[in-house]
Amino acid sequence: MLEVYTWEPNANSGKPLFCLKEKQVPFVFHYIDMGKREHFSPAFLAVNRDGTIPAVVHDGFVMTESTPIMEYIDDAFEGPALRPADPFWRWRMRQVMRYMDNQVAPSLAMLASNRLAAPQFQGADPAELKRELDKIPLPERRAAWEKLMFNKTPPADLAESARRVREAIRHFDALLAETPWLAGPDFSLADINVIATFYGLPTSQPEQVNAQATPHLWGWLRRCHARPGIQQAFRLGKGYIGQRAAEARGLLGVEEAAA
């Protein structure tokens, strides 16, 4: 049995959902409401003691690292290959994913959570917030949530994150000028990793990402959003993520695929 414990089709949470839908692998979806911080609940900590999502359990084998999980899904299940056959392009695929995981996605997460999630903590009882923080097992995650809850992210960090996102947009546009997909001629895990975080850029960063400024990235966004597997994964969302993806499709002029 294959079980996926995760939140929305968004960033790390979305990676297994997109991969499984692309390969058409059936699975049991356990929705973990990150907005209610269910990933720090005792029930979820019994699955993953680190309290990070996603967690994927295949016949009792527990996996908690999102990018290695993507490779596992392609490795262990039938369906269209999501990794290039050539070792060099595989190296490129992993480089793109590493750059995204280490540099770009955390920067976008910092910007987005300060804009969207931080306001809900304004005026909350500090003692209550402290109790919430104490439930978070990993010290590095606790430190990030503390900055968010108490509005302590240094402005210089936010500025650096914005710079990194701008740089990434330029970098990916340049890569896509050379090849149709991020790791060569074929769609791969690298594209899934990036679209999982970049899907909403046409609506959230319209001045930076548009058909004139970033034509190659724009074409790639259209090709990703047109894929039935990607659209099916977005339909698994229970919150606002599915709506944001639909808005992006509208702006990109992408047709809705059959359900």
Binding site: F61, M63, E65, T67, P68, I69, E71, Y72, D75, A76, P87, F88, R90, W91, R94, Q95, R98, N102, Q103, P106, S107, A109, M110, L138, P139, E140, R141, R142, A143, A144, W145, D157, S161
Partner: protein, 242 residues
């Protein structure tokens, strides 16, 4: 022909040297003196602008990032196989590759630097100026000194890493599946430094270090050098948003 730019048998360079020896692959040897910051000299920055070793070149292509280069070698030269015998072992190899990068290497660099109390000379400082902004920021932080709290956090992270290494060794004596693999090869050179940095080494980990060190390919790659002796390097940036 493979060309390898490396800093000798320590840290990430040791992992690639070991893998090349395991597979019996010949290579053109470019050894850099990391103690003299040769990796920040203009001629090497032309090879890798990030100023980091090891770098592998083959067929006119330049490969960086040790763990991905290890996977590349294993996929291109599958004999003997080191990537894990089944999907679970291969996932575990990937998990350890990631863990070294996010939890072990950056924290090892901080603890090591704090113990050295080294003051870089003018040549070294000039080298930092040539680096991309993220790498330069890391070295500038090192020169200023990491806050005591950061050093403490880094130490705690290494202690936890030692426990997780021992935990994964408990089943078969190796980190991924039932044989020596890239998981062992990527973790080993870093883990071999824990004791000299004052990080407690559980018995299962000590036993594994001993067995790993006895492998013919490891002995060949190390050439008698002690893995605990290494030049100061800055690992990858520690996660900036948790």
């Amino acid at each position: 022909m493979i060309a390898l730019y490396h800093g000798g048998p320590s840290g990430h360079s040791a992992s690639l040297l070991i893998a090349l020896a395991e597979k019996g692959l010949a290579y053109e040897d470019h050894r850099l003196d990391l103690a003299a910051f040769a990796q920040h000299a203009p001629d090497f920055l032309a090879v890798n602008p990030a100023g980091q070793v090891p770098v592998l070149r083959e067929d006119g292509r330049t490969l960086t990032e040790t763990f991905f280069t290890l996977l590349y070698l294993d996929e291109r030269y599958p004999d003997p196989p080191l990537g894990g015998a089944d999907p679970q072992a291969r996932y575990t190899v990937q998990k350890w590759g990631k863990y070294v990068e996010t939890h072990i290497a950056p924290n090892l660099a901080i603890v090591d630097w704090a113990l050295r109390g080294q003051t870089p000379d003018d040549t070294a400082r000039a080298g930092f100026e040539r680096l991309p902004s993220e790498r330069r920021a890391l070295w500038e932080q090192a020169v200023t000194g990491f806050p005591a709290e950061d050093v403490q956090t880094a130490r705690a992270a290494l202690a936890k890493a030692a426990d997780r290494i021992a935990e994964d060794l408990a089943g078969t004596g190796w980190l991924a599946g039932d044989a020596w693999s890239l998981a062992d090869i990527i973790v080993f050179p870093h883990a071999a430094r824990f004791a000299s940095l004052g990080v407690a080494v559980p018995a299962a980990m000590a036993d594994w270090l001993e067995r790993a060190g006895q492998r013919p390919a490891v002995r060949q790659a190390l050439g008698g050098q002690d893995l605990a002796v290494a030049a100061a390097t800055m690992g990858p940036e520690r996660g900036r948003w948790g």
